[in-house]
Symmetry: C2
Subunit: 229 residues, 2 copies
Amino acid sequence: MQPHAAPGAAGPGRGVAAPAAGRRRRWRPGGDRVTVVRRSAGDRRAQLVEIGLELLPTTPVQDLTIDEVARRAGISRSLLFHYFATKAEYYAAVMDAAAALLRDHVVPRPGTAPAGQLPGMLDRFVTWVETYRDSYLAFVRGAHAGDPGVAEVYEQTREQLVAVALAAVPLPDGPRQRQLVRAWFAFTEDLVLQWTREPTLPRAELLELLVEVLGGLRARAAGPPAGRG
Amino acid sequence: MQPHAAPGAAGPGRGVAAPAAGRRRRWRPGGDRVTVVRRSAGDRRAQLVEIGLELLPTTPVQDLTIDEVARRAGISRSLLFHYFATKAEYYAAVMDAAAALLRDHVVPRPGTAPAGQLPGMLDRFVTWVETYRDSYLAFVRGAHAGDPGVAEVYEQTREQLVAVALAAVPLPDGPRQRQLVRAWFAFTEDLVLQWTREPTLPRAELLELLVEVLGGLRARAAGPPAGRG
């Protein structure tokens, strides 16, 4: 590994406000200890991820250029690759951070009454897509395009929302139930993405409809185990 | 443009059985007339598309290599680019052909009684995905990945299935109705793709469920025009 270059040495050195400056980590992902740094490796990674998040609403992840990210960070392209071994690793870190923000926003707080969990989650999900439509679309597209890092993060996020929905119906957590609730999530995602572009029904009706469709699956989802027919 | 090379000149020249040998077109897409050819340009294009279709079940469209397709056709890479100006144009032609096969298989024959149209279409759609799962997944992924040619063909295909579903419910063909039925198709596609990998409910129940979920949307879909609330 190369030694730690001074931040800004290769770039214009513009004021780099660290979004995660509070977290002072003294290690690098590679495992080497760094004792004297102007900006810790953890902070620098967080800053680079933050830049990716800022670009995400207008730039699908696969179109983020390392040159642009490095330029905004005021570092050289090669220094960026010091923190992220590959472009794919950087993209995965950005997607991971975006998905964590989404989950944090959408998943019910511990202690929320069961009856309020699903409507609250759907309301916040719609708000999220309303606010970050392009970014969310990029996330979905990245996952579908088969980028392994993005697909994994997408599936983790979806499975967390599916688990909330299963508990809300309520349904036991089995393979058939997961399948049906995942398909319901595909319905929800598709409809909300369409609706945020063209709201063809009132928002309150959209939310009621999403709850209704999930409820409608209850009889089939609670049916006998697979292999009966 | 380069002159027409003799077929097989640059390859092993294996027997190239033309799937569309009956169609003797005397023009090339570029518009130039070709009067003397061993294999007409239209036939050669059809043959190259057919090779792509054969590879599609095991190779997502974005992973088809021009070298492999040219090798199988017994022609040079540069001759392939004589028939398709770019890789993207070739991929789009393969997707287009796959989608035409799908539509031809799935959409009800003229004269089918209205009551039988939706169950028949869903049954054939499930059969299609059962038979060509990887190929269909590649189609969906290509469309979601944002390849403009693939996305357009995918949307054309989906809109045709949506139109059949709208007529079957029945529902008028308006923006709200299309939105809801498109979202139902997202549900259907997601569930069938999951189910073909892991059949967690009997096939007949799967088909009934798909019809039920569409029927359940009727009340909301037939509601007042958008903008009421």
